[in-house]
């Protein structure tokens, strides 16, 4: 039978010749993880299951990324629950403050996920890992507890919609702009319960960093997973990091898609999502001029080295506007170190930016850059819901790193061209 890549991976994990959309399967999982917010609840539920040890200690990770370094006593207590559990169960893959980064970026970087895997995390942006040709999906804490206990998870096989991306992206139009443009067209529930399969020529030109930004935001369209067939770029990135054997799957040419949508990637512009939905997508030029109080470059969506390089291109030799503040948070210590070695951190410091240890912090309005009433932030993150980054009357515009950097320089929403075409002030 013909199947999509998503169906093939799921079939392989139930030892079946085929699976069909709509079917509920009891699926083997290759790797599971939880973060400092979702782990304590998962641990509490796991303990109710009366199981002495996780299904395979080598296939479980805990990554501290949300409220770290702990912002108050309550968040410190939550971290302690997980630390105690990790030590009591002698679990090898625990990422605590200093060694930790934003889970989705860190776990891919560390080779815990690869092509053909079923990868499950108690964090909605787990779909990030689909860029590697894995089936990756986010679940809640109780589901994660069950997966930790059994090494299996019930899943409804999703229908797949294929997005064929034609042509090549223009300068300053990134993978982030591409996924925002798609969400703008199909809506925040346009892929609900389904698989988004990305294909086409435009992808071949994109690095893994940009590909991850695309699959990362599949959940913002309501999808269960976003996925791409692995190619040479995938393998060149993954092979040096691999910890386990992997399996390359490709969709059959006559696979059954719920829909196939053609997108002319070369016609896309640099865009932003305006408040308060990721689906409110407009070209940045339409809203250029909106006064900005804070710009944030980081997160699992856009805290990777290429994002930092793009921001540095805009910021080099320039200063953050006097009435704006800039936060830069490399997604992992490795990315931080690389940015340091490449001189990017120096550029951000010289510009007047604040640089932080890896954390999700501002993205969830948690700490490290919370917004006051009426404030506006341009953020490279993935969500701009009401109150997402602070006060319920603050506003968030989602963008790529170039737009966030340009907006920091001009103190208003701006296309990066507006800044880089102007001479660097002496």
């Amino acid at each position: 039978m013909s199947m999509t890549i998503t169906e093939k991976i799921l079939a392989a994990h139930v030892d079946a010749d085929e699976v069909r959309p709509g079917e509920i399967i009891d699926c083997r999982v290759d790797f599971v993880f939880a973060n400092d917010i979702t782990a304590p609840l998962a641990i509490q539920e796991f303990q109710k299951m009366d199981i002495p040890q996780v299904f395979d200690p080598d296939r479980v990770a805990f990554v501290f990324d949300h409220y770290v370094p702990s912002k108050d006593i309550a968040s410190a207590q939550q971290c302690k629950i997980t630390r105690d559990f990790v030590r009591a169960h002698d679990l090898p893959h625990f990422y605590d403050i200093g060694r930790s980064g934003i889970a989705h970026v860190l776990l891919a970087e560390e080779g815990f996920v690869g092509p053909g895997d079923v990868f499950v995390g108690a964090d909605s942006h787990t779909c990030n890992q689909g860029a590697l040709g894995a089936f990756a999906t986010g679940v809640g804490s109780s589901d994660l507890a069950a997966a930790m206990a059994l090494g299996r998870l019930w899943l409804r096989v999703p229908e797949t919609v294929k997005y064929v991306l034609r042509g090549k992206l223009q300068p300053w139009v990134t993978g982030k702009d591409l996924i925002l443009a798609i969400i703008g067209r199909i809506g925040v529930d346009g892929a609900r319960y389904g698989a988004m399969e990305f294909a086409g020529e435009a992808l071949a030109h994109l690095s893994m960093d940009e590909r991850f930004s695309i699959t990362n935001m599949a959940v913002e369209a309501g999808a269960k997973n976003g996925i791409m067939e692995p190619d040479d770029v995938t393998l060149a990135w993954f092979r040096p990091r691999a910890r386990r054997s992997s399996a390359m799957y490709r969709s059959d040419p006559d696979a059954n898609y719920a829909d196939v949508r053609d997108i002319d990637a070369s016609a896309l512009e640099t865009v932003v999502s305006v408040p308060s939905s990721p689906g409110n997508v407009v070209p940045v030029r339409e809203v250029a001029g909106v006064k900005v109080d804070q710009c944030f470059i980081g997160t699992c969506t856009n805290g990777r080295i290429e994002d930092l390089r793009m921001a540095a291109t805009v910021l080099a030799g320039r200063k953050v506007h006097a009435e704006t503040r800039l936060l830069v948070i490399p997604a992992t210590p490795r990315i931080y170190r690389q940015a340091l070695e490449e001189g990017l951190i120096q550029i951000f410091l010289d510009a007047g930016g604040a640089i932080s240890t890896s954390t999700c912090g501002p993205c969830i309005g948690g700490h490290m850059g919370v917004l006051a009433e009426g404030e506006v932030c341009v953020s490279t993150s993935s969500r701009n819901f009401i109150g997402r980054m602070g006060h319920r009357q603050s506003q968030v515009y989602l963008s790529n790193a170039g737009v966030a950097a340009a907006s920091a320089v001009l103190g208003r929403l701006a296309h990066p061209d507006e800044v880089v075409r102007a001479p660097v002030p002496v």
């Binding site: 509920i24 539920e45 409220y67 809640g140 109780s142 919370v370 969500r383 109150g387």
Partner: protein, 167 residues
Amino acid sequence: MTIRGKAHKLGHHVDTDVIIPARYLVTNDPAELARHCFEDLDPTLRARIRPGDIIVAGENFGQGSSREHAPIAIKALGVPCIVASSFARIFYRNAFNIGLPLVESADAYAGIEDGHEIDVDLSAGRIDDHSTGGTFVSTPIPDFMQRLLDAGGIVGYVHAQRAQRKQ
């Protein structure tokens, strides 16, 4: 099983950030989470929801983050079930996993107004609006989800799975 309660009507795409803002995700205590439920959607809403009241919402209820704290907070307010045109997928799993039934009916959303007294018959897939006499059909709860509810949620389901394997 029929649940009777007063409807609180919400809009479309209610996200988990407005159900329980991330700034409160530093505890697993259901009562503490309930104290901040819907705070960023409407700061007065929580005080108006009485135990037994039912949430009636539009499309894609529970979109966004995977935080299980969202259905936990709603359940801890004493809400026995949620009726919506549709639900976001992680929220859907989480709610059934903690034993909070969800009922899908776009017609019910269109027909029921805020404050109406409604009956939700989970097994029959029927919603009655006593304020208007209207009756709406809901999508039947899938067999698998019903088994999860019958097991008392995912913890009970795991116990049952393990017992089955030992046989």
